[in-house]
């Protein structure tokens, strides 16, 4: 019973931060399941995948309605992500896990540095006439005005999505940690639109993986079910909170997560665990 409560609360926290930051929440969920609840890695990854779908779908249903998630850009990026996930899944085992974890850590260090050093207002509302088929606009209550943005450097966004998909195929993590900084820093999207669009896309990648877990009987129904209920509650709270939070605050929160993950990944790579 206490275990169920821990699962519910952890799921709620993962859903809350995941829906705000554009992550699936697996980043928070997997360590808790493995380290504190003694769940083995495969079942933890399966539960994490279902949690990612729950966060993504619950959050995206709201962000799409508000117009913050860029649906057209989302589908275009999803093709690169799923392709990356297939390549990652096929090539898993060809590359040593330590090198991958190290590489991921290095990417996170770069992302953290870029997030912290870019202009404080960059992407928080560059007023630019759109017009391209992928450009977007939405109303930001925290700023009290409509934000219009232009999607730049699509190839860079596609490449980052491919890498994100590959990592999720190889390591069983969501791609949000790679996608959000890439959309914000390379494609020039405001932080909120980056997080919302990432949220919108990660459910598809996770679904591709989860269907395999489901068919192989690798989803523990109770574990997944309780976690998902927590995640749904947390995600709805996150989407309710999101309009009141400034893009700058989100960026700081996000860089704190990437910094923390970078340290953890690099330590794992160096220690060989």
């Amino acid at each position: 019973m206490t275990q169920a409560l821990v699962l519910l609360v952890t799921g709620a926290a993962a859903g809350l931060f995941g829906s705000l930051l554009g992550l699936g929440g697996g980043v928070f969920l997997v360590p808790v399941l493995v380290l504190f609840l003694g769940v083995d890695m495969a079942h933890a990854a399966g539960a994490s995948l279902t949690a990612v779908i729950a966060t993504s779908s619950a959050a995206a249903s709201v962000y799409v309605d508000r117009g913050v998630a860029n649906m057209k850009l989302g589908v275009v990026l999803e093709t690169a992500t799923v392709l990356g996930a297939i390549c990652g899944g096929v090539s898993a085992g060809l590359l040593p896990a330590r090198a991958l974890v190290g590489l991921f850590g290095a990417v996170l260090v770069a992302a953290t540095a870029a997030l912290l050093s870019s202009r404080p207002e960059a992407g928080d509302g560059p007023e630019e006439p759109g017009g391209g088929p992928l450009d977007g606009e939405y109303f930001d209550p925290a700023l009290g005005r409509r934000v219009r943005y232009r999607v730049r450097r699509l190839p860079a966004g596609l490449s980052a999505s491919f890498v994100a998909g590959g990592l999720s195929g190889l390591l069983g993590i969501g791609g949000g940690l790679v996608k959000v900084p890439a959309l914000h820093l390379f494609c020039g999207m405001p932080m909120k639109a980056s997080a919302a669009t990432s949220n919108y896309t990660i459910g598809v990648t996770a679904a591709a993986g989860a269907i395999v877990y489901f068919n192989q009987g690798m989803l523990d129904p109770d574990l997944c079910g309780i976690t998902v209920l927590g995640v749904l509650g947390g995600s709805w709270a996150g989407t309710a909170l999101s309009p009141r939070i400034k893009g700058r605050t989100l960026r700081r929160l996000f860089s704190a997560v990437t910094a923390l993950m970078a340290v953890q990944m690099l330590r794992r790579a160096l220690s060989g665990g």
Binding site: T50, I53, A54, S56, S57, A58, A60, S61, V62, V64, D65, G67, M71, K72, V75, V76, E78, T79, V82, L83, A85, I86, G89, V90, G203, V204, A206, A207, A208, G209, A210, I211, V212, F214, N215, L219, P221, D222, C224, G225, I226, V228, L229, L232
Partner: protein, 90 residues
């Protein structure tokens, strides 16, 4: 565009609510009777929600005659099928 948003948002919300209710019902019934069946059905509904969203989007693009985006969605569905096939074969 506004109409597209409403349709996609509703399909996602519908999937989430349906799976949430099935999961809650399955968990509250426990390991006997219809409990496990409802629970598994809820998880399957959840997994299929993002896939449904792409199908809905494809239909909406086709109706709006935005063929380039329609083909992106169709390609994505094909890729998802391929990835499921690759995963199941392993």
């Amino acid at each position: 565009m506004a109409e597209l948003r409403t349709v996609v948002s509703r399909s996602l919300r519908g999937g989430v609510i349906l799976s949430g209710m099935l999961i809650a019902a399955g968990l509250s019934l426990g390991p006997t009777g219809a409990g496990p069946v409802l629970l598994r059905a809820g998880l399957l509904a959840l997994i299929l929600t993002p896939v449904l969203r792409i199908a809905v989007l494809a239909a909406a693009f086709a109706r709006g005659r935005q063929w380039n985006f329609f083909w992106v969605c169709a390609g994505l569905l094909a890729l998802l099928g391929l990835s499921a096939a690759v995963g199941l074969a392993r």
